[in-house]
C-alpha cells in the first residue's frame, strides 16, 4: 500500500497500510515511543483504503480492511482516519486473536498485581484507567485484557486510551501533563480524543501481571458496592470476551481459573473522585 506504519503494542505487532498519508502521519506521531513488531513480522494487517479510486480525492472516505473483517462496515471521513486505524486494530484483535483469552476490560497494575475493570460502554473503564494511571498505577490497557491460558497472567495491551464525550474533559483535567491526540468531533461514537499512555507504561508493556481484583464499575449512581458471585462473574466475563467460544477448552479453562481465584466486586459511583477512593479502599482491603 502507498503509506505504511508498523508498531508493536504489548505482545501484538500490527502493520497498517493506507491510501492516504494523513492517518499514517498521525499514527507515527502518537505511537512514536512504541517499538516495531518483533522480527519485522506483524501479527495482523490493517488496511485503510478508498472504496473507489477517485474516492481518494473526492469526498475521501476511509474503508477499514485487514486480515479479519466484518461485512458491511461503514466508511469514515478522512478527518477520522486515526479512529479508522484504531477500529481496524481492535477488530483484528477481536476477531483474530487466538493466543490470549481477550476480555473487554481496562487494566492497571500495582506491585505486580493487576486490577481489571469491565462493563458496558459508558461505565468508565477507560476514564478510570487513565486517572489511576496518573496516580501511581501502571496503565496496562483501556480496551483488552490479554489472559494467557498457560499461566493465567494478564499481558499489557497499552494502545492509545480512547476517551469519549464527557470523559475527554474529565481526563484533560485529571491528567494535566498527559499527551493527547487531536479532538475527533462528531464521529459515529461521538467526540473522541486519545491519550498517549505515559512513557513508564510503554517501557513496561512487556511485563505481565497476576490478576488480583475484578471490578464491574457503573457510573451515575450513588456510591455503593457489592460482592459478585462466581456464577455472575463467569457469565459477565463470557459476554465481555470476543474469543471465548473460538478458544474452546483453553478459553473455558482460562476463564474458570480467573473466576475461581480472583475476587470480584461491583461498584456504583457518582463521580470519578468517589470512584478512585472506592477503588483504593477495595485494593487496600485485599
Amino acid at each position: 500500500m502507498r503509506h505504511v506504519f508498523s508498531v508493536r503494542i504489548g505482545p501484538v505487532g500490527f502493520r497498517i497500510g493506507s491510501d492516504w498519508r494523513a492517518p499514517i502521519a498521525r499514527l507515527e506521531s502518537l505511537y512514536a515511543d512504541y517499538p516495531a513488531p518483533r522480527d519485522d513480522v506483524p501479527d495482523f494487517n490493517v488496511r485503510l483504503f478508498a472504496a473507489r479510486p477517485w474516492r481518494r480525492f473526492v469526498r475521501p472516505a476511509v474503508m477499514i480492511g485487514g486480515d479479519f473483517v466484518l461485512p458491511e462496515a461503514a466508511p469514515l471521513p478522512l478527518a477520522q482516519g486515526l479512529l479508522a486505524a484504531e477500529m481496524g486494530m481492535n477488530l483484528q484483535m477481536a476477531l483474530g486473536q487466538r493466543r490470549y483469552l481477550l476480555l473487554h476490560a481496562s487494566v492497571v497494575e500495582r506491585d505486580g498485581r493487576a486490577l481489571l475493570m469491565t462493563g458496558i460502554s459508558g461505565a468508565g473503564k477507560s476514564t478510570l484507567a487513565a486517572l489511576l494511571g496518573a496516580r501511581g498505577w501502571r496503565l496496562m490497557g483501556d480496551e483488552f485484557a490479554l489472559v494467557d491460558p498457560g499461566t493465567g497472567s494478564v499481558h499489557a495491551f497499552p494502545r492509545l486510551v480512547s476517551l469519549k464525550n464527557e470523559a475527554i474533559g474529565v481526563v484533560e483535567t485529571g491528567v494535566p501533563d498527559g499527551r493527547f491526540g487531536p479532538l475527533l468531533a462528531d464521529t459515529p461514537k461521538g467526540d473522541i480524543r486519545h491519550l498517549i499512555p505515559d512513557a513508564a507504561a510503554i517501557a513496561a508493556m512487556d511485563r505481565p501481571a497476576a490478576p488480583a481484583l475484578i471490578l464491574f464499575p457503573r457510573f451515575g449512581f450513588e456510591a455503593a458496592e457489592r460482592d459478585v458471585p462466581p456464577s455472575e462473574v463467569f457469565v459477565r466475563l463470557t459476554q465481555a470476551s470476543t474469543n471465548y467460544v473460538a478458544l474452546g477448552e483453553r478459553g473455558f479453562d482460562a476463564l474458570t481459573r480467573i473466576v475461581k481465584t480472583v475476587p470480584a466486586r461491583a461498584i456504583d459511583y457518582p463521580d470519578t473522585d468517589s470512584a478512585i477512593t472506592q477503588v483504593e479502599a477495595l485494593w487496600a482491603a485485599l
Binding site: 522480527d39 513480522v41 483453553r250
Partner: protein
C-alpha cells in the same frame, strides 16, 4: 525463494517445499502469512511448516493457527455428530463432504484445514424427511426471501442453508454435487452407493468421488474463489490414494475434462510442474491473484471468471431473468 514473488505462488511454493521459507525476510513472511490467511490456508501452512527453525514471531503465529485449526476440527466433528443423531431416527446415513469428511477420515487434506459449514449429501428422495428431521432438532432457515427459497428448491443442488439456533452453525444439505441447471449431471446415486464409513456412523465419498467433487466444484460451478485450497485438497488426495480408476469414474460423472484440469493445476501449484495449455495458465493467473497484503488483485481476470461461473450454472435466458430479479431486489435496498 525470491523476495520479489508476492502473489499466490509465494504460498504455493511454501506448501510445496517448506524448507525454502527459511530464506524469507520479515517482509516475505508478512506477505506469506497475509496471503495464507486470505486463502483460508493459514492452518494448512502452519501444519506444513511445523518443526522448522522459524523466526520466533512466525513460530508463534503458526502455533496459534494450529491451535485454532484443532479447535475448528473438534467443532466440525461435533456438528457432524449432531447431524448424525438428527438423521439416525429416519434411517438416513450421514454422508459428509469436503472439510468435515477429510477430518472425520483423518486425511492429509484435513490437516489444519479451515472448515466452515457442515456439507452433507443425501438421496433426493429423502430430502423432505431430512429437512423435517433437522428442523425438529433446532436448525432454522437462514433465507426468509421467497424468491431465493424457491430458487434453491427448484434449481440448486442443495437446500437453502439452515443454521442451528443454539450452536450458530450452518448446514448445507446437498442431493447432488452440481446445480440442476448446469449442463453436466453427475451420477448422485453412484456417489452415495460408493460412500465409505470413515468413523462410526459417519460416511465419506470414495477417494475418486472426492476428487470428482473437488473438480466439479472448482471448474463447473464456482468463480474459483478458494481455489488454492481446493487444489491443495486435490494434491493431498492424489498423494494419499493415487489416481487408479479416477479417469473412468470422472468420465462416468461427465467430469473427465474438469478432473484432468484439476490434476494438472494441482501438480503445477504443489507438485513438480505440469504441461499447461493457455487456458490452464489463465486459471493459474486467477487462482494466484493476491498481493502482499492478501488483497484480491487482477480484477479483469476475476470478473471474467465470475461471469463464467454464472454462464456455467444456467442457460442464458434463465441467467438474464435471475440477474434481473436479483438486481431489482438490491436496487430497492
Amino acid at each position: 525463494m525470491g523476495g520479489a514473488v508476492k502473489d499466490g505462488w509465494l504460498l504455493a511454493r511454501a506448501l510445496r517445499t517448506p524448507g525454502n521459507t527459511l530464506a524469507l525476510d520479515g517482509e516475505g513472511w508478512t506477505a506469506l502469512i497475509a496471503i495464507a490467511r486470505a486463502e483460508q490456508m493459514i492452518g494448512t501452512l502452519a501444519f506444513r511448516l511445523e518443526g522448522l527453525p522459524l523466526p520466533e514471531t512466525v513460530d508463534r503465529i503458526l502455533a496459534d493457527a494450529r491451535a485454532s485449526a484443532e479447535q475448528g476440527r473438534i467443532a466440525a466433528l461435533w456438528e457432524a455428530e449432531a447431524a448424525r443423531r438428527a438423521l439416525a431416527p429416519i434411517g438416513v446415513p450421514l454422508v459428509l463432504l469436503k472439510g468435515t469428511a477429510f477430518v472425520a477420515a483423518r486425511l492429509r487434506a484435513g490437516e489444519g484445514r479451515s472448515i466452515g459449514d457442515l456439507d452433507i449429501l443425501v438421496a433426493r428422495a429423502t430430502l423432505d424427511a431430512v429437512e423435517a428431521a433437522l428442523l425438529e432438532v433446532g436448525w432454522e432457515w437462514v433465507k426468509p426471501d421467497p424468491y431465493d427459497d424457491a430458487y434453491f428448491r427448484q434449481w440448486m443442488h442443495e437446500l437453502p442453508p439452515l443454521i442451528h439456533r443454539e450452536r450458530d452453525r450452518m448446514i448445507d444439505v446437498h442431493h447432488t454435487i452440481l446445480p440442476l441447471t448446469a449442463r453436466i449431471t453427475p451420477d448422485a446415486a453412484a456417489l452415495l452407493a460408493a460412500s465409505i464409513e470413515v468413523a462410526p456412523g459417519l460416511f465419506a465419498l470414495s477417494p475418486s468421488d472426492m476428487l470428482v467433487h473437488a473438480a466439479a466444484h472448482l471448474f463447473a460451478d464456482g468463480d474459483l474463489a478458494g481455489g488454492m485450497r481446493n487444489l491443495w485438497d486435490v494434491h493431498c488426495l492424489v498423494e494419499e490414494f493415487g489416481t487408479k480408476g479416477l479417469e473412468e469414474r470422472a468420465a462416468h460423472h461427465g467430469l473427465a475434462r474438469e478432473v484432468a484440469r484439476a490434476l494438472r493445476l494441482a501438480v503445477a501449484l504443489y507438485g513438480d510442474g505440469a504441461t499447461l495449455n493457455p487456458a490452464d495458465r489463465l486459471y493459474l493467473r486467477r487462482l494466484t491473484a493476491r498481493d502482499g497484503w492478501g488483497r484480491a488483485t487482477r480484477p479483469v481476470t476475476r470478473f471474467g471468471f465470475y461471469v463464467r461461473s454464472h454462464w456455467l450454472r444456467m442457460p442464458p435466458a434463465m441467467l438474464a431473468r435471475h440477474l434481473w430479479i436479483k438486481w431489482r431486489k438490491t436496487s430497492k435496498g
